[in-house]
Symmetry: D3
Subunit: 161 residues, 6 copies
């Protein structure tokens, strides 16, 4: 009997965008279970707390069972192993993304050869989208309601005030 | 009950290399069934016939059930649909590969949004390897036994004579 | 009094796609006159004749005055000079496009420093689109009516039969 | 009657280099009016104050009417709209520049589809030049007089002491 | 009589990895003398002191005469000139490395045309390896003994405690 | 006693440009002997015969002893071994060049680990220059006398007539 395939989709998600959610929905159809893994990333000095970042994703995913959302602060490869995941998902928008992620994927394979990294393509309409752009433009009052889930939009408005 | 996940790994495979086989083995662990799809590619003027290219892969995969090998001459996306596949696998060695494959993936999604393209990383030791290099160097007598399956090596020797 | 700014948009256009037309419309708003310049490109062995390629563009642009369509077989920089153009327009979809076009732009500047090359971004929904993809997929019966003007679609159907 | 074409050339310009000035002169020939827009960029922790950065550009451009220099701290796309600009100019030195600017251009188009981003090529002799390199090497006493306008050179000497 | 060829291999080396050592050994065979030049790099806020970074390299190179290790805080091109070096060595893992180093190489040539930058390829097994990855993963307890010399591994263990 | 360092600079050189000559002069200062190796490259369908291509380089190099010019039709790595060379020189103009050459370098190292590939940067003023551009523009009558040696210019004129 085939084993269940569990996939991890890691990131800082500060905050989650419609581009991230698009990858989650696509990845969810390919594997038996998807775990969204929110990195604490203290060095990136996130705008939102880990609790907020996890909360935004859970609220935006409302109704999508089969997707779990966790935070983690250990090595990604160890987190994957603990959750019996055999796949790490990365969304690729750009060539520079790819090269960095290729190096990360080889590094992770070097640490644990049982876990594969696979790359997916977000929907074209989100190809320019990044959490940094969202934070930068929202701070200046750009209308980004079509680019993030409602809870994130609301969260950004509170911070702006 | 979850549906079986069927993946397609397409290419010209003229001839198959150890890098291709590495991707096949990796992809095979992630999905319920893998179909290797050998494109006729008449415009590329292949060195080996379609029958030879399919034959090399079957011989090299000897013993790997769950992997089927077919040739095809229609649109990849139509071939995938006919075989109930929901995933197309591409191996990425280089940044220039990625950009071309990203465009292909978006094109294919435009034609059929139900089929995802996912990218995988071959083993580092094959990161420089391509069928063109194999043909070019084998023709000049380079010893490439560690880079291709034995049947391909033998096939290249016959052509050289 | 300011001089009229005339821009050239060169290409093989075998055949013109909605991505090319998108660039034409955008470029047309930026300059006083736009000349679409269809290169004969005999080395590329085009599917459509120069007359057909020019005809498709004229038909698709129907009603857009200020845009002229010509074929040319001399150096682009000489063609631009003859038509008093000071700008060459190139559409950039991908990083690999950019690098090639950057070299071409520097080469052309080396031959005539009075003519600038400027790069524009096509609409995201056409970022994967190329004439080669159109020809390849149309030949296999893909439905590409949303990607090319009607006259090109009809022209491709005739060739297929 | 054609409307006047107004272009914006944005940047941090900390400090302006001969490469920036080269783009300004080239862009100025293509459009009816050019506005150099100096971003406050407090997050980049600039070496020179906004007033100094604007002052250097004005002094270096001495005699070039048709070019205005302003600072701004709002969204670029809003600044462009306020000044009735329909074009944003970016100079591209490198492939990595291009990819970032392509994403920015798509983001800005998403916020305001009436404003086009166009990319120009600086003169080859400045293709390696960046404000960071200037600051880094000037601090160590490199002779960079041929790479920046005189006022910038003088400004860097004062800081060094 | 030919002059001795002296090469410089500069970096922050925070800490040195087996990938760096691989380049040192390869470069050492090509030139008459190799000088490893450890940049103070205070802006990068290094984990190890300059003394520690120099010490690790000396210990790891134990027995390789013909290789000197120095620290430097002036312009690389001035350091090279002082040591009569005519070549700067850079190891290239990735395309993004290349573009940055190409700009640096052109900048350095602009400052001193007598000193050439040459690029070398590290061994494939270290193509994913960087000092940042080492620090990041070691901090989380990854076993990286096959990726760094023993003295660096020990140094990282002490810091972790 | 140190062994003499012999370097190979391979290419099709159809025809040699000032960019190639710039790399030859630079490489010649770094190693004890430089061998320019002209590949027959029948698949590229060269414009000039091997004899002509070798002849152009010899004439252009007139007076540079220490540089030999040979043609070759075997594996580059075998040609290098026969001539006791330990270094292969490649000039890098662009990111896409780099990626292809990186793969070639790894392939060649795989076949013979004793021979290093090193990359050099041509002079900025030739960064756009390629033999293809020369042939394409010369055929249309562009004045390229500052981009190629006189003998190549003359050779191109004869062909044009």
């Amino acid at each position: 009997m085939d084993q269940k395939k569990i996939a991890i989709y890691p990131g800082t998600f500060d905050p989650v965008t419609n581009g991230h959610l698009d990858i989650m929905v696509r990845a969810n159809t390919l594997f038996d279970k998807l775990i969204v893994a929110v990195a604490l990333s203290p060095k990136k000095n996130p705008l939102f707390s880990t609790t907020e970042r996890v909360g935004f994703i859970k609220e935006a995913l409302n109704g999508q069972d089969k997707i779990e959302v966790h935070s983690f602060d250990n090595l990604l490869i160890d987190f994957a192993f603990e959750h019996k995941a055999s796949v790490i998902i990365k969304g690729l928008r750009a060539v520079s993304d790819f090269e960095f992620e290729l190096q990360m994927g080889l590094m992770n394979r070097n640490l644990n050869n049982q876990i594969e990294t696979v790359f997916m393509i977000p929907s074209q309409e989100y190809s320019f989208l990044s959490s940094s752009f969202i934070k930068e433009t929202a701070q200046h009052g750009a209308d980004i309601r079509h680019l993030v889930p409602k809870c994130v939009y609301d969260g950004l408005q509170i911070i702006r005030k």
